[in-house]
């Protein structure tokens, strides 16, 4: 994946540090680890949307990837696997915002539209198309079964309750989570 911030954060985790570490020593260790790793392996940055194809044609064997991209790819290629590492991961969250009143001339219409997007059937339609998990707790009943039971999608919809947000672990706009072992290791095939 072509995200140097996340790659470096993964290197921090791989060297035993927090992905939000400010320690000069830990950052140096992670940097050296990253340099050494890239020298020992065939390593490349690719756009996240190209990851699935490159896995499928064996150009890549292991890579950092977004769950939505892999959930989509798994529909046509069961040889692609996806795991949430046991030492944690990041959640990328898409939000809708309201611009300041001087910039938003029809704010009420915008709010109506946001409310429409949050209807369970509408939220599920978005998930069925984008393979992203939805924040609406009622949405799952409307999901396509192929998506609902896909391992990559399940890794995002397993239930947020065990995945507590932490201010200390905030990394840029990404949120880092400690993943409980039962979720990190074997995605369940049940809902």
């Amino acid at each position: 994946m072509d995200d140097s911030h996340l790659l470096f954060a993964a290197a921090l985790l791989a060297t035993g540090a927090s992905p939000s570490s400010n320690s000069e020593t830990q950052i140096k260790v992670a940097g050296d680890f990253l340099v050494t790793s890239t020298e020992q392996t065939k390593f490349e940055f690719v756009h996240h949307q190209a990851v699935a194809d490159l896995l499928q044609n064996h150009h890549l064997i292991v890579c950092m990837a977004l769950s939505s991209d892999i959930a989509r790819a798994v529909q046509s290629n069961p040889n692609i696997g996806f795991v949430v590492p046991a030492d944690g991961t990041w959640i990328s969250l898409d939000c809708i915002v309201a611009f300041a009143p001087n910039d938003a001339h029809q704010k009420e219409i915008g709010e109506d539209f946001i409310n429409f997007l949050l209807l369970p059937s509408g939220a599920a339609e978005i998930a069925n198309y984008s393979f992203k998990a939805n924040t609406d707790r009622r949405e799952r009943a409307f999901l396509e079964p192929a998506i609902k039971f896909d391992p990559a999608y399940q890794s995002t919809t397993y239930g947020l309750s065990p995945l507590r947000m932490s201010n200390q672990d905030q990394f840029q706009q990404q949120i880092f989570h400690q993943i409980p072992p039962e979720i990190a290791t074997e995605p369940s095939s049940s809902d």
Binding site: A52, V62, C95, F99, E108, I126, T135, D136, T156, Q170
Partner: protein, 76 residues
């Protein structure tokens, strides 16, 4: 992005009376560090970052981020 837009005064508060479905949003998404008041945004979709791999080639399932950096074979 939300944090920087708020700091620049470019975001307004949403009127949640016009967005009744917001009450169905998972609680974990409604008081995020970049806007503890949760007044200027509605979280809609999300995804995780993980390790993808070719099941047909890789003998062992990756478990930690260290596995991302482990050479598969002398030439890969």
């Amino acid at each position: 992005m939300i944090e920087s837009l708020r700091a620049a005064g470019r975001l307004g508060d949403l009127n949640f009376q016009n967005i009744p479905n917001r009450k169905e949003v998972e609680d974990e998404f409604t008081a995020l560090p970049f806007d503890p008041s949760a007044s200027s945004y509605v979280p809609l979709t999300w995804r995780t970052v993980g390790i993808a791999y070719n099941v047909a080639i890789l003998d062992e399932t990756p478990r930690t981020w260290s596995d991302l950096f482990t050479p598969i074979s002398p030439d890969r």
